[in-house]
């Protein structure tokens, strides 16, 4: 609690006034010595006590009244640590409202969501703004209303209110950081006014934690943590934050060792709460296939824990792809959860799905541990039966480089027709015709993974497969001789980029943080060449890069996939990295397999049209190819199972439809608040605290005291007129 006008407390000196008034106003009576005194006493004594009491009460009331008035005029306001701060001068305030799914989090007590509480925070800012300021509005979700700064704050507040009333935020992996440019561009008129972005969000990695202190063009960003119970919340601490459960990931693979049509569905159940082993919460996970409940698993999830889950399901009588949904339930009903949107996850199941991976071993060895692809093959087949390596979802095929060349020479690109992912492991640059066949297959949807080693000739590779490479190869160097390094120490691996589509959903450092590379391949930087980096060394040099080529994908590992150049294969993270990379590369190749998208991601295919997308709600969207012949679906904000029908509707013999699912981004489920430091106040800007006014109740109390004082005074007058006083 603080006072906005503390100087007015000087008025408390005035508290002496009623005292003086009571002393001076106390009329000095005329004293008479009177023999009939006796006839005046008796009843007066009781009255006199009342009179004394009343006078003191009146005095106390008047002092209280004056104190309340002085206190109210000094404008007390609560100034919590989390009190939002606004710029002290008139400026353009742009409310950047977080519309991400994590704002859907509901208070367990009131049921109000953070998104709804944004209104209160916005209203508090509008009230705290200095006169002459203007208020604009923009959201992290582009569908949120966007208003240029206006002198009338009701426009922005009204638009926000209308949006909140319309429903919960739309899932879509919206990050505040991505909208900063749009927010700073909201008021382009250079009228000399200061502009400040007030970010209203939760304290999550996609919310306030993703924000820098200023935008690229220098606008100040003030984080306002939205809380349930007040207009603003603290920027630190997790007290009172609701915990929720969610299905963080879900995948499936065939389980032929059980049944030819059996599938093993794996999921991760996560409790988004502060870790507490002692607090466990029972929950059930239901598996529905084609709308029917086929399995239900009872679990206990400790706070902050991640619980793996495995359900085996055999689609004995069902053919073709199956729409499956994993759902959190309690007592047969959907779980009542503060954040319900991640309580469901969708999958397309296909009993006969296989991913064929062809490993081209550039450096075979009789000793298995020295074989170039030993670790990779082991990782990919880690769940397969040793006696029947093809039993898993991934079917491995080993080839020597000359075998590949011979097959391609014989059959052309068709030799790779059954290959979904081709891995060239430390293979010398392929011949021209082989390279052409590979390019053709990648363009048609095949995945290509290049790993380097002693046999890699950068120049030859750049010449033959340079068109496919994410970046051109330069040369292999010892890690110690890399630019900026003076010692011959190994190059450590940096934390993986979990935003990369291939690794999305993985946690922490992927288990590769301790890995070191003794030798790495340097690449030619080329900003014009589209590529994505999934893994880097600590020096910043890329380790694993991917790019899309035509309908297929290409990955490049800049160190060997065996132990020759690095110890990466010995690290526990190697297995998920290999599986993830192969699955990512093979996604495009699989025609009947499901493609799992996160909400908001663009689905695309290079297959010829016409294509019609049937959304989970039954809406049909006819896709039109782009100039490059690729069909793209951008409106993937509806969660569930999508079908893409090929050929004209109703035409006989139409090929099987393409399938994909859209699920929520688990990153948006992370609602546990992070501690955020308020930005430092720079320059000569004065940041005045915005206070929650507390003086209004004081005025009410003062009015009440005035009323009581009036009543007492009237009563006192009447008594004095009627009554006697004993001195």
């Amino acid at each position: 609690m603080s006072l906005l006008a503390p100087l007015l407390l000087i008025g408390l000196i005035g508290l002496g006034l009623p005292l003086i008034a009571h002393l001076r106003g106390h009329r000095e009576p005329r004293t008479i010595r009177f023999a009939g005194h006796r006839f005046l006493a008796a009843e007066g004594e009781v009255l006199s006590q009342r009179r004394h009491l009343r006078d003191r009460l009146l005095l106390a009331l008047r002092v209280l009244l004056l104190a309340l008035l002085v206190l109210a005029l000094s404008r007390p306001a609560s100034r919590h640590e989390a009190a939002l701060a606004v710029l002290g001068e008139p400026h353009d305030a742009i409310l950047l409202v977080d519309g991400s799914r994590s704002m859907e989090l509901r208070s367990e007590a009131s049921g109000q969501s953070l998104f709804a509480a944004t209104r209160g925070a916005a209203a508090a800012i509008a009230e705290a703004l200095p006169p002459g300021s203007r208020l604009g509005l923009i959201g992290s979700d582009p569908a949120l209303p966007r208003l240029d700064p206006s002198a009338d704050p009701r426009a922005a507040l009204g638009a926000l209110q209308a949006r909140v009333d319309a429903g919960p935020p739309r899932p879509g992996s919206w990050r505040l950081r991505d909208r900063l440019a749009a927010a700073s561009a909201l008021s382009q008129a250079d009228d000399g006014r200061t502009k400040v972005i007030y970010a209203l969000s939760d304290r999550t990695s996609g919310g306030l934690a993703s924000l820098p202190n200023t935008t690229a063009d220098g606008l100040a960003i003030l984080p306002i943590a939205v809380a349930f119970d007040a207009a603003t919340g603290a920027l630190e601490g997790t007290r009172g934050h609701p915990a929720h459960l969610g299905i963080a990931s879900a995948s499936w693979e065939p389980a032929p060792e059980i049944d030819p049509r059996a599938m093993r569905i794996r999921a991760e159940l996560r409790s988004y709460a502060a870790a507490d082993e002692d607090h466990r919460r029972p929950v059930s996970v239901a598996l529905r296939v084609s709308g029917e409940l086929v399995a239900q698993v009872e679990l206990e999830v400790a706070d902050g824990a991640t619980v793996p889950l495995e359900i085996t399901y055999s689609a004995a009588d069902q053919r073709g792809p199956l729409a499956a949904t994993l759902e959190l339930v309690a007592d047969g009903e959907p779980l009542v959860d503060p954040l319900p949107s991640d309580d469901r996850r969708h999958l397309w199941l296909a009993a006969d799905e296989r991913l064929t991976v062809t490993l081209v071993n550039g450096e075979p060895s009789e000793r298995r541990s020295h074989d170039e692809v030993f670790f990779l093959a082991t990782a990919l087949a880690h769940r397969a039966d040793e006696t029947e390596p093809s039993a898993g979802r991934i079917a491995l095929r080993n080839l020597a480089p000359d075998q590949l060349e011979a097959q391609i020479r014989a059959r052309g690109a068709e030799a790779l027709a059954e290959t979904d992912v081709l891995v060239l492991a430390n293979t010398a640059a392929p011949a021209e015709n082989v390279a052409a066949a590979i390019r053709e297959r990648v363009d048609a949807g095949m995945g290509l993974w290049l790993t380097v080693g002693e046999r890699i000739d950068a120049e030859a590779y750049n010449r033959r497969l340079g068109e496919l490479l994410p970046l051109l190869l330069r040369e292999a160097v010892l890690a110690g001789t890399a630019p900026g390094r003076s010692t011959a120490a190994g190059e450590g691996f940096a934390p993986a980029n979990l935003d990369h589509p291939a690794l999305r959903g993985e946690r922490d450092d992927l288990g590769l943080l301790g890995a070191r590379a003794r030798r790495i391949f340097l690449l030619e930087p080329d900003p014009d060449r589209p590529h994505e980096v999934a893994l880097t060394y600590q020096s910043g040099a890329p380790t694993l890069l991917t790019r899309d080529y035509g309908r297929g994908r290409v990955a490049l590992l800049t160190t060997s996939v065996d132990r020759d150049w690095s110890d990466m294969p010995l690290r526990p993270g190697f297995v998920p990295l290999a599986l993830r990379t192969v699955s990512y590369l093979g996604d495009r190749a699989s025609q009947s397999g499901a493609h799992n998208l996160l909400v908001g991601e663009v689905w695309s295919t290079g297959l010829p049209g016409p294509l019609t997308v049937v959304t989970p709600s039954g809406r049909r969207i006819a896709l039109r190819p782009d100039d490059d012949g690729v069909h793209r679906l951008t409106d993937t904000y509806e969660l569930g199972h999508y079908r893409v029908e090929r050929g004209p509707p109703g035409a006989p013999g139409a090929p099987s439809p393409l399938l994909f699912t859209v699920n929520v981004d688990p990153a948006e489920s992370e609602t546990l608040p992070l501690d955020i430091k308020a930005p430092p106040i720079a320059g000569d800007r004065v940041f005045a605290a915005a206070h929650i006014p507390r003086w209004r109740p004081l005025f009410g109390l003062a009015a009440l005291a005035l009323l009581v004082e009036s009543l007492l005074r009237a009563r006192s007058r009447r008594r004095r007129r009627d009554g006697l006083v004993d001195g």
Binding site: R30, T31, H37, R38, A42, G723
Partner: protein, 367 residues
Amino acid sequence: MHSDSGNALAAVLPPALRDLLRGRALTLERPVWGQRAGRHLSARAGLGHLFRAHRPYVAGDDPRLLDWRAMARRDRPMLRQTEGEDELSLCALVDLSGTMAYGEGETSKRRTAAAMVAALAHLALRQGDRFGFATGGDGALGLAHLRPSASASRLGALAAALSEGELRGLCPWRELVSGAAPRLPRRALVVAVSDFLDPCPPTRGAAPEVEATAGPRAELANVSAEEELWGAFAGLRARGHDVVLLQVLHPDEIDPPWRGDEFLRILDPKGSRSSIKGTANALKRRYQARFAAHQRALTRHCEATGIHLLRVRSDAPLEEALLDLLARLSGLTPSSSTGSSAATTQPKKTPKKTPKKTPKRPRRGPP
């Protein structure tokens, strides 16, 4: 008359009053019982001129008193008796408490009381009666001059007692009456002079429980003490004394001159009660009601016990009051069948304009 006592008497007895007393006599309606011959009809046979009765002669009687005619009629020696004439013993009990100091100049209650007592004493001594007085003031009794004396110096003592010293404290009336009663000669004329408004106030310290509690309990104790006092006066009357209560009141005490919303603090002149604050109107309303009740009660008591009650306003002409008193004592003034009377002398001037009657307010409790 002694010159000193004369000067002192002049201080308390106005010359006009003294002139008025010339040729007047203090006579009583009832016979007296004096030690010596006087001019008042005695309750016993004596050597007077008025025939009283005949009685048979017994040995030892003065043969000069034989009535021969009666002896002839009755055929036996008869003695002729005449009414005796005795002196009168006048005893004054004077209140010298603080309440008697009220009033200034000619309206002073002290002056009125002193003049009345001095006039009676002067009259009595002049006609050969005895006079004694006792005072009560400042909580103490003055009984030194209680035994009646025919000496003229008693007047000087009276004048000194009434005119000197500051009046304060209370007059212990009950002690005064009980102290004086055994010392009174037979069939004396007892004149008690006071305002009798609060003759028995609570004594500070003497009855702490009463003082501390105040309120109705204290008032009840007060009334009880007063009843005792009235009983003591009635006892005097029962012993054959003529008792006169001379109630000297200041006009302010009959009709307090308090008006409007003026804030007053009323002190008890006797210092026995706590001061009272209040507005003039409220105080006056309360006072008038209770004062009237008190006066009625006093009158009723005097009538019941055969005590003369004479009310004297301190602003009224003393001559009238004195003549009225003399007339009442001698039985010339018509009075009630009980022989007691209660009258108030009228003020010197014509009555003031009747104050506006304030609308009566409903009283919240019994007065």
